[in-house]
């Protein structure tokens, strides 16, 4: 049995100074960004009902922590992070529930719904769906939101280098899959 002692590597930062609540600011954000965030969650999850729930929870989280958010101009990246995290939670829960009761959610890119998208786009979604979770997220943030690597890294909670390599691997994997599907 090996044994080693390590020291702390990460200590929590001090809390930001309190700011006055600004509910009107949140309402403005909600009206301006709700649709975009629901679309982001929709692309990650595949069904609109759950996507709307995730986004609603993200706004609720921001509302609760409004006083503690140091930079209110940076709320949108924070909201995106909340949405991506919420989608991860849903995926994990679905994975567990799916083993027990089967996946009852039919995603918008399913064969039944292909008429809405066309077969070519459906192929792309099916290939994206088969990628690991982190690669899927990186692709959606990069090619749907057109975020730069720095912002993708912030939303996903990884380094810029990781984003770069993740997107690169995902594209290579997609290219192989789509080529094989032809």
């Amino acid at each position: 049995m090996r044994s080693e002692t390590r020291r702390a590597t990460d200590v929590a930062p001090p809390s930001p100074p309190p700011l006055a609540p600004d509910p009107d600011g949140i309402a403005e954000l909600f009206h301006a960004h709700r649709l975009g965030l629901v679309r982001l969650a929709f692309l990650l999850l595949g069904d609109q009902e759950t996507a709307e729930d995730v986004v609603q929870d993200a706004f609720a989280a921001v509302h609760r922590r409004w006083d503690r958010l140091a930079d209110h101009g940076r709320v949108l990246p924070y909201l995106r992070t909340c949405v991506v995290n919420g989608c991860r939670m849903v995926h994990r829960r679905r994975a567990i529930a799916g083993r027990l009761i089967g996946d009852r959610v039919e995603p918008f890119w399913s064969a039944e719904a292909a008429a809405l998208l066309g077969e070519t786009r459906r192929e792309v979604f099916v290939a994206v769906r088969a990628l690991p979770r982190r690669q899927r997220e990186a692709l959606v943030l990069r090619y749907y939101l057109d975020l730069p690597e720095g912002e993708i890294a912030e939303v996903m909670g990884v380094s810029r280098g990781t984003v770069k390599s993740t997107v690169s691997r995902a594209l290579a994997s997609l290219a192989t899959k789509l080529e094989a599907a032809r």
């Binding site: 390590r6 929590a12 509910p23 982001l40 609603q56 996903m156 594209l171």
Partner: protein
């Protein structure tokens, strides 16, 4: 000519996103109160609230159960209908959370990261590692299972033991405290003194005596792994659930089949179950009320087939993606770590029937903490 993959992605994502139209969104909820409408209702709202409180009190009195709105903070839920047999004591100071990138020690009062526990380096080409954590209920002794696989091979799990210092910053990391496990570790539980470790892998449950490395195994006969395991303080009784049934297994025996275990008559729950340190009670939930709107966390006796003792906490979970669920009692049996309603985790006081949020674990952008123990 086929367009570049980037263009195909942009086109597909744009077309997919356009399926969500402004008109297809559900009616706008009110994330905040304010604006002209809010001011017009300035008098009506308090009156309505007062009326609601009066009606709620009446319902609580007559029905003997408690409900609460989706919380923004600690939820007062009134006195419990039956006090637990142990006196209350403070919650453990530290908890451990795990996500796909590793494990962290957090302060249970604030949720803040105290220590980022960097895992030992593993052989190259090993990907898809997943972490599962278990604690002995004191916030000082944890076990971590790290499961992963090399490409083309079956996953294996390695178990580590981590002892946290009183201040939570220094820790002792011991590798391979039990033999490597073939398969993906789904969940773990540990006895109060840390000498007995239970884990679930595929269709089997194993209990290891950490000192002697003797492992006893039970086959569940289920096509999926058990995700809820909980050990009593003495490590002799294991509570486990597969969301359809809850079993109590005497793990002092030689091993065998799960069918040897006693089935408790606890309703179906996807949330989770935990057994109290003394083995007298099982906490389970959320349970769905007959009106399908309220959910509760209930305590059941481990004797008498699992009769329901009381409802510890109840809440309306309508239209939320929160995943309320029981994770673990603390060592004193007076509090429980739960998955939160609108935050990842919370502390449920079994004496007061209140659910307190466990800090804001998503304040900083970063991977969501999904598994926890204390």
């Amino acid at each position: 000519m086929t367009p570049p993959i980037e263009d195909r992605l942009r086109d597909a994502f744009a077309a997919g996103a356009d399926l969500v139209t402004p008109g297809s969104l559900r009616a706008e909820p009110s994330p905040v109160r304010g604006g002209p409408r809010g001011r017009r209702l300035a008098l009506v709202v308090p009156l309505a609230a007062a009326l609601l409180v009066a009606l709620t009190s009446l319902v609580v009195t007559t029905a003997g159960r408690r409900t609460a709105p989706i919380p923004a903070g600690p939820i007062p839920a009134g006195p419990a209908t039956a006090a637990p047999s142990v006196p209350p004591r403070p919650a453990p100071r530290f908890m451990m959370t795990a996500d796909d990138d590793g494990v962290k020690i957090r302060d249970t009062r604030t949720g803040a990261v105290v220590t980022d526990v960097a895992p030992p380096v593993l052989p190259k080409h090993r990907r898809g590692d997943e972490y599962v954590v278990a604690g002995n209920g004191t916030g000082t002794l944890f076990y971590v299972a790290r499961s992963g696989a090399k490409p083309g091979s079956r996953p294996t799990g390695r178990i580590y033991r981590i002892q946290v210092s009183e201040r939570g910053k220094g820790f002792k990391w011991e590798s391979d405290v039990v033999p490597p496990i073939l398969g993906q570790v789904a969940t773990m539980a540990v006895s109060a003194d840390g000498t007995h470790l239970a884990y679930s892998v595929d269709g089997r449950i194993a209990v290891v005596d950490v000192a002697t490395k003797v492992t006893r195994t039970w086959t569940t006969g289920l096509p999926y792994p058990i995700f809820d395991l909980s050990l009593t303080a003495d490590g002799r009784t294991l509570a486990l659930s597969d969301a359809n049934k809850t079993w109590l297994l005497d793990v002092s025996g030689p091993g065998g089949l799960l069918s040897q275990a006693r089935v408790l008559g606890i309703p179906t729950t996807m949330g989770g179950v935990a057994i109290s340190p003394d083995g007298a009670r099982v906490l389970a939930g959320p349970m769905r009320a007959p009106d399908a709107l309220d959910y509760s966390i209930d305590e059941y006796a481990t004797t008498g087939g699992g009769r329901r003792i009381r409802s510890v906490f109840a809440i309306r979970l309508h239209r939320t993606t929160g995943w309320l669920g029981v994770l673990q009692y603390d060592a004193g049996g007076s509090q429980a770590l739960v998955r939160g309603i609108d935050r990842p985790f919370g502390v449920l006081s079994l004496t007061r029937g209140t659910l307190g949020p466990l800090g804001d674990l998503v304040d900083k952008p970063g991977p969501h903490a999904l598994r926890a123990a204390w």
